[in-house]
C-alpha cells in the first residue's frame, strides 16, 4: 500500500471513529433512565474513577502549582511584579492548566482502565452473557461509567486547582518570601468567580469529562474481542482523548473569551 493510501486510511479510520462515537452518544443518553435502576453501579464507578484518582490528581496539582510559582516568580522579578505571582498562578490554573491537565491525567488513569475493562468484558463474552440474561449492557456497564466520569471530572478539576494554588503558595510565600497578604489579596481581587472558576474549572471540566469518558467507553465497547484489539483500543483512548482535550480546550476558550 502506498504512503498516500496509508495516510488516507488513517484519516478515514479517524473520521469513522469520530462518527461512530458521535452516534454512540445518543445511545448512551437514551440509556440513562434505564441505568437509574443500577444507581449503585454508578456510585461504585464514581468511587473508582473519582475517589481512586484523587492521589494522582492531588500530587500532580501540587507540583504543577509549585513549578508554576517558581518559574513565574523569576520571570516577574525582572519586571518587579513578584506580587502578582499568586494571581498569575491562579488564573493559569483555573482557566487552562487545571481542567486540561486533570483531563489528561483522567484519560490516562481512569479512561484507559474503563476501555480495558469493557474491552475485556467484550472479549470474554461477559457483555453477551448480560444480553442473554436480558440485562442491557449499555445501561448496566457503559452508562454508569459515563455518568461517573462526567460527575467526577469537574470535582477532580476543583481538587487539582486547590492543590496547585496551595503548591504555588508553598513555593511563593514559604520559600521565595512573597508576602502572604499580597499573595492572597492580589489573587482574590483579580480572579472572577464566574469567568475564571465556573467557566474554567467547572464547565471545561464537565465538557472534558464527557468527551474523555465517551471516547473511553466507546473504544472499550467496540473493541475487537482479541488481546491486540483491547491493547489498540486502550492506546487509541489515550491518543484520541489527548487530542480531543486540547482541541476542545481551544474551542471552549475561544467561545468563553
Amino acid at each position: 500500500m502506498s504512503e498516500t493510501a496509508k495516510r488516507r486510511n488513517i484519516l478515514l479510520d479517524g473520521l469513522e471513529q469520530i462518527g461512530d462515537a458521535g452516534l454512540f452518544l445518543p445511545t448512551l443518553i437514551a440509556a440513562i433512565p434505564r441505568s437509574m435502576r443500577y444507581f449503585r453501579e454508578t456510585v461504585r464507578q464514581l468511587w473508582f474513577v473519582g475517589a481512586m484518582s484523587l492521589i494522582i490528581i492531588m500530587t500532580c496539582g501540587l507540583f504543577v502549582g509549585m513549578v508554576l510559582s517558581l518559574q513565574l516568580y523569576h520571570v516577574l522579578e525582572i519586571f518587579g511584579g513578584t506580587a502578582s505571582t499568586g494571581t498569575v498562578v491562579a488564573l493559569a490554573v483555573y482557566r487552562e492548566l487545571g481542567p486540561v491537565i486533570t483531563a489528561l491525567l483522567f484519560a490516562g488513569r481512569a479512561g484507559t482502565s474503563m476501555t480495558a475493562e469493557i474491552g475485556l468484558m467484550r472479549a470474554t463474552d461477559q457483555l453477551s452473557a448480560m444480553e442473554m440474561m436480558a440485562v442491557d449492557p449499555i445501561a448496566f456497564v457503559v452508562t454508569p461509567r459515563f455518568l461517573a466520569g462526567v460527575i467526577a471530572m469537574p470535582l477532580l478539576c476543583c481538587v487539582f486547582a486547590a492543590m496547585a494554588i496551595f503548591g504555588g503558595h508553598l513555593v511563593g510565600v514559604t520559600w521565595l518570601g512573597i508576602d502572604n497578604g499580597t499573595f492572597w489579596s492580589n489573587m482574590t481581587s483579580n480572579v472572577d468567580v464566574w469567568k475564571d472558576v465556573v467557566d474554567g474549572v467547572l464547565w471545561k471540566g464537565l465538557a472534558f469529562g464527557a468527551v474523555v469518558t465517551l471516547i473511553s467507553v466507546h473504544q472499550g465497547y467496540t473493541t475487537p474481542p482479541t488481546s491486540e484489539g483491547v491493547a489498540n483500543a486502550t492506546t487509541r483512548t489515550v491518543v484520541a482523548s489527548s487530542i480531543a482535550i486540547l482541541a476542545l480546550d481551544f474551542v471552549l476558550t475561544a467561545f468563553m473569551m
Binding site: Q126, S128, A129, M132, M133
Partner: protein
C-alpha cells in the same frame, strides 16, 4: 389453506419449541446456512452436532436473537425471533438459559453473586429466598462450597458448572448449552449429564446441546441433528444415527478425513504453492 392443514400447522408449532424454515446466513462470501429447516421438539433434549465451523454456535445465537439471519423464519415458543424488538427479545431471553462455551462469568463478582445476578436484575425477591435458590442451584452442580470464590480462582470445569447453575437459576423453558462437556472430568461430566436429564424430566425444560462428544450425547439426548453444508443433513435417534449409512454420518461419526466435509480449508494447489510439479 384448509382447516385441517391449519390445525396440523399449529399443532406442529405447539410441538416445536424452535422451528426454523429457510434460514439463510452468510458472513461475507462464506455461506453458513443455506435454507436450513429445523424443528426442535418441546420438552426433549436435542443435540446439534456437526463439523467445526458449520454454524452450530451461530444457530444458537439466531435462536436467542443475538444475531439475525439474512432471511428465513425462526420461531421460538411461537414467537418470530427475527421480528422481535429489543423489549420482546429481552422478555424471551428471560425464559431462556444459555451456557456459553467459555462460561462468560462476570469477573467482578464471586460465584454466589454470579448465580444470583439474574435474580437480582429481574426480581425483587427477599434475600433469604435469593440465597436459598442460589445455594440450591450451586448444590445441584456440586459447587455450594465454592460460593465465595472468585471466577479467577476456578478451574475451567468449575467455571462451566457455575455458568450452568446461573443458566438454570430461573428454571427457564429452554436451555441452550454451547459445548457443555468441554473441560469436565468424568465425575463432573456424569453429574452434568444427570443434571441435564433431571431438569428435562422434572421441569420439562427443552434442552439444546451443541457438542461433539457422541458417547455423552447418546446417554442424554432424545434426538440428534447433524448440521453440515448449511443444512440439517441427518437427524434421528442418537443411538442409531451413526449407522444410518449416509456419507455425512459415516464421515462425521467415523472420523474420516475423506467425505463430503472437506478437512482442508479451501486453498491453492499444494504442490504449486510449494513450488513443485506442474503448477510451479
Amino acid at each position: 389453506m384448509t382447516e385441517a392443514n391449519d390445525s396440523s400447522g399449529s399443532e406442529a408449532n405447539n410441538n416445536s419449541m424452535v422451528r426454523a424454515r429457510g434460514l439463510k446466513t452468510s458472513f461475507g462470501s462464506r455461506v453458513i446456512f443455506d435454507g436450513l429447516d429445523m424443528d426442535i421438539p418441546r420438552g426433549k433434549i436435542t443435540a446439534i452436532m456437526g463439523p467445526s465451523g458449520t454454524g452450530k454456535t451461530t444457530l444458537l445465537k439466531h435462536i436467542t436473537g443475538q444475531l439475525k439471519p439474512d432471511s428465513g423464519e425462526l420461531l421460538v415458543d411461537g414467537k418470530n425471533v427475527t421480528q422481535l424488538n429489543r423489549e420482546g427479545l429481552y422478555d424471551l431471553r428471560e425464559e431462556i438459559g444459555y451456557l456459553f462455551q467459555n462460561s462468560a462469568l462476570l469477573t467482578d463478582y464471586d460465584v454466589y453473586e454470579n448465580v444470583a445476578f439474574p435474580l437480582r436484575q429481574h426480581t425483587r425477591l427477599p434475600e433469604v429466598l435469593v440465597r436459598n435458590i442460589v445455594l440450591t442451584k450451586l448444590q445441584a452442580v456440586g459447587l455450594r462450597g465454592a460460593a465465595k470464590l472468585m471466577p479467577a480462582e476456578l478451574s475451567g470445569g468449575m467455571a462451566r458448572r457455575v455458568a450452568l447453575a446461573r443458566a438454570i437459576v430461573f428454571d427457564p423453558m429452554l436451555i441452550l448449552y454451547d459445548e457443555p462437556f468441554v473441560g469436565l472430568d468424568p465425575i463432573a461430566l456424569n453429574q452434568v449429564l444427570l443434571l441435564i436429564r433431571t431438569l428435562n424430566q422434572t421441569l420439562g425444560i427443552t434442552s439444546v446441546l451443541v457438542a461433539h462428544e457422541l458417547a455423552a450425547i447418546q446417554q442424554v439426548a432424545d434426538h440428534v441433528m447433524l448440521v453440515a453444508n448449511g443444512k440439517v443433513v441427518a437427524a434421528g435417534d442418537p443411538r442409531s444415527i451413526a449407522d444410518d449409512g449416509s456419507p455425512w454420518t459415516r464421515q462425521f461419526f467415523g472420523g474420516e478425513s475423506d467425505g463430503p466435509v472437506p478437512f482442508h480449508y479451501p486453498a491453492a494447489d499444494y504442490a504449486a504453492e510449494l513450488g513443485l510439479g506442474e503448477g510451479a
